[in-house]
């Protein structure tokens, strides 16, 4: 049939042009020839290849091809923004990269150095402590707020909106707002009561709790919304049945509501866990990671409030050691992956089958 032949021809031409231009553009790029049109050539190549595949007159593979064509934009973006940087990053962590040039391959030196750095070990421990405290407090506060906002008091909509509002403000801005509160406003009180004429943010232990307070303030509203949704999914019949059976508010809460929203609790703990681990912006703007620690592993430290993410940032940017920062980032990635997997496994077992 002529229709089929012409279709086949079109498809093959598209495929041919596509693959050739794809290869040429990549070769130009890797060889650093720097022609302006290589970007367009790449686009033409990809479109040609996809078009050729799509119009290929085949019964057998058609479904697979369509699947691939439709998945391609997503896979491509994921590859460019996640996979390639991850692979490059891991690569850089084995070199002496300084943000400009790669001098030589250094093997595991960066990883070894990271584990010898007391400041890094301190940051890891501090972050772990921060995560544990936050996971408990954020969920507790958020759950209580959710109970409040799913009850029948007046102005529930207003409360929901207000509690959620801090989450809409960026972390850096939040940090500076609270820095003002702790440094400028609170100092008037502390200087009168304790005679302390400087901000509590310069006292390591207090500053740590300040970060926790700000973080809860920022994050509890968001988690609250998820809990509200969870609480709303508890079937009314079940609650009515328990009321008829004589369950009071406490037993309804502990024996019906909480087990029924176990999956929500899983989601929320998971979210708070990973987010607390990745804590960066409030840390940077509130204390900048400063704080003096008298004795840690036999020495004093000056990064008393520096969490892991901020430690990675200062290693690369302030201390100009990009490769070491990259190695720490890889460790960070591994820790986060392991913790997340373990956490999800444990929580999944406790969920009630609906």
């Amino acid at each position: 049939m002529t229709g089929n032949t012409s279709k086949k021809a079109l498809s093959l031409v598209l495929l041919g042009v596509g693959i050739i231009s794809l290869v040429v553009s990549l070769v130009i790029d890797f060889m650093g020839l720097g022609f302006d049109f290589r970007g367009y050539l790449l686009i033409i190549g990809i479109l040609g290849t996809l078009g050729g595949l799509f119009t290929l007159p085949t019964e057998k593979y058609h479904r697979n091809i369509v699947n691939f064509v439709f998945l391609f934009p997503l896979l491509f973006t994921f590859g460019v923004t996640v996979i390639i940087p991850l692979v490059l990053g891991i690569g850089y962590s084995f070199t002496d990269w300084d943000g400009v040039m790669v001098g030589r391959f250094v093997g595991l030196d960066n990883y070894i150095q990271a584990f010898h750095q007391t400041t890094f070990l301190y940051s890891v421990l501090l972050t772990a402590l921060f995560v544990v405290i936050n996971m408990i407090l954020v969920n507790l506060v958020a759950f209580l707020l959710a109970l409040l906002c799913s009850s029948k008091i007046k102005g529930v909509g207003f409360f929901r909106a207000t509690y959620f509002l801090p989450n809409l403000i960026g972390g850096i801005v939040l940090g500076y707002i609270w820095q003002f509160a702790f440094s400028k406003a609170l100092i008037g009180i502390t200087s009168k009561i304790f005679g302390m004429e400087y901000s509590i943010l310069s006292e390591t232990n207090l500053a740590f709790w300040c970060i926790i307070i700000v973080y809860i303030w920022q994050y509890a509203g968001y988690i609250m919304l998820i809990y509200i949704t969870g609480l709303n999914t508890v079937p009314r019949e079940v609650l009515e049945a328990s009321a008829i059976d004589g369950a009071n508010a406490w037993s309804t809460l502990f024996q019906i509501k909480i087990p029924m929203i176990a999956s929500t609790i899983t989601i929320c703990t998971f979210l708070t866990l990973t987010n607390a681990f990745k804590m960066f912006d409030v840390n940077l703007s509130l204390t900048g990671g400063n704080g003096s620690v008298e004795n840690f592993l036999g020495g004093s430290l000056t990064n008393g409030t520096e969490m892991l993410a901020l430690n990675i940032y200062t290693t690369a940017i302030n201390k100009n050691n990009y490769a070491l920062g990259q190695a720490k980032a890889v460790l960070f990635f591994i820790i986060l992956t392991v913790v997340s997997i373990v956490q999800v496994r444990i929580s999944n077992k406790k969920e009630v089958e609906m």
Partner: protein
Amino acid sequence: MKKQIAVALALATAATMLFAGCAKGENSNSASKGSGDAIQLLNGKPEIDAQMQELAKAYEEETGKKIEVLTIGGNETASSKLKELYQAGEMPDIFVLEANQFANWSGKLVDMSDQQWTEDTEVEYVNEEGTLGFPYMVEACGLAYNADILEKAGVDPASLTSPEAYKEAFATLDSMKDELGLTAVVGYNVNATDVGWSSGTHVFGQYLDAGLATDDTTYIDMLNDGGKLDEERFTAFGEFIGMLNQYTDPALITGSYDDQVLGFASGKYAFVTQGSWIGATLTGDDLAAYEEAGSFKVGFAPYAFEDGLTTILNEPTSFWGVYKDGNVEDAEAFLQWASEDTAQRMFVEDMGFVSPYADCAYSSTDPFAASVTEWLGTGKHSSYHTFLKKDGLQDATSVIFQNYAKGQYKDATEFYNAMQEATTGYYANN
């Protein structure tokens, strides 16, 4: 068939939109490399952005060549921004560099020793690779004072050449605080979080260089050898800092840079631990307060923590370098022009800089300019070797300065011990 074409078209449109971003980036990249096009300059001083744009305009009017000025706030950010631009292949042709950042760009900067401007200045950045840094200003850093207040209190700034003299002057000023309208004698900001560069780099720099000849690297060499401090000199320095702690405004232990400068501008502090860069703020953002306080005269006194340490730090704090793979010819032509008459007038009169060029005939309206020029005339100036310390060391040292101000160490010896532990720890760890 039609349906298939429609789908393919839709897909094509979507994909084009997806790639539009990448393609654009590549375009602008190559545009900057062609000769005859505008050259780019990365400026690290946000306070002179508007004036730099004017400078670019003046250059275009005189020579017909375009220069594009990009401004990045704060030097730390400029350096990481530069690395970003490098990775993206969009390097500017001229960019700002601090003394310790030249090593990063080893082999990528142009040796400008054959340029004519090098004969008119003595403070260009030179290392074993050649003349790499073009100096565009000189910044002074000592203990800045309010001359009017000192005069009212009967303190002669020229007499401040020993710790004893300072002790006496501080005590006199302190006893007359109400009369002179002072909040505190000294505005010494030790906020490690936001102003750590001030105590950690500049004040610490006085330990490294005060009283030394510009080529004397004794203490910076010791420091870079594993973070060692000279016990005798540092303890004397600590005594002096202790005196600053005694007479400073406690609000500045965790106060902001703006508070500190505004306090000085409004005549609330007789001394302030900042350099000539605050001049632009006195005549800019804080002008109202400065005028209300009587547009007082200002000057610099040396950090005389030992007898006879009578120099202030007075050198360029940053330079402009030229990128080897950029448009070198046009960039060098611009720098030569920048060292000449029109540009010098703009640097000095509009930006308030003190010129590093010998034949510059203009005098600045900046409040500190007179004092800085006078110091340059006496030859009593030292270098900023503090910029050669290990990257990020100020993050550690500033915390120790803050602890000392909070009263955590009872004397200069404890301060020395803590600082020594912090610096050796930092050098060992990083």
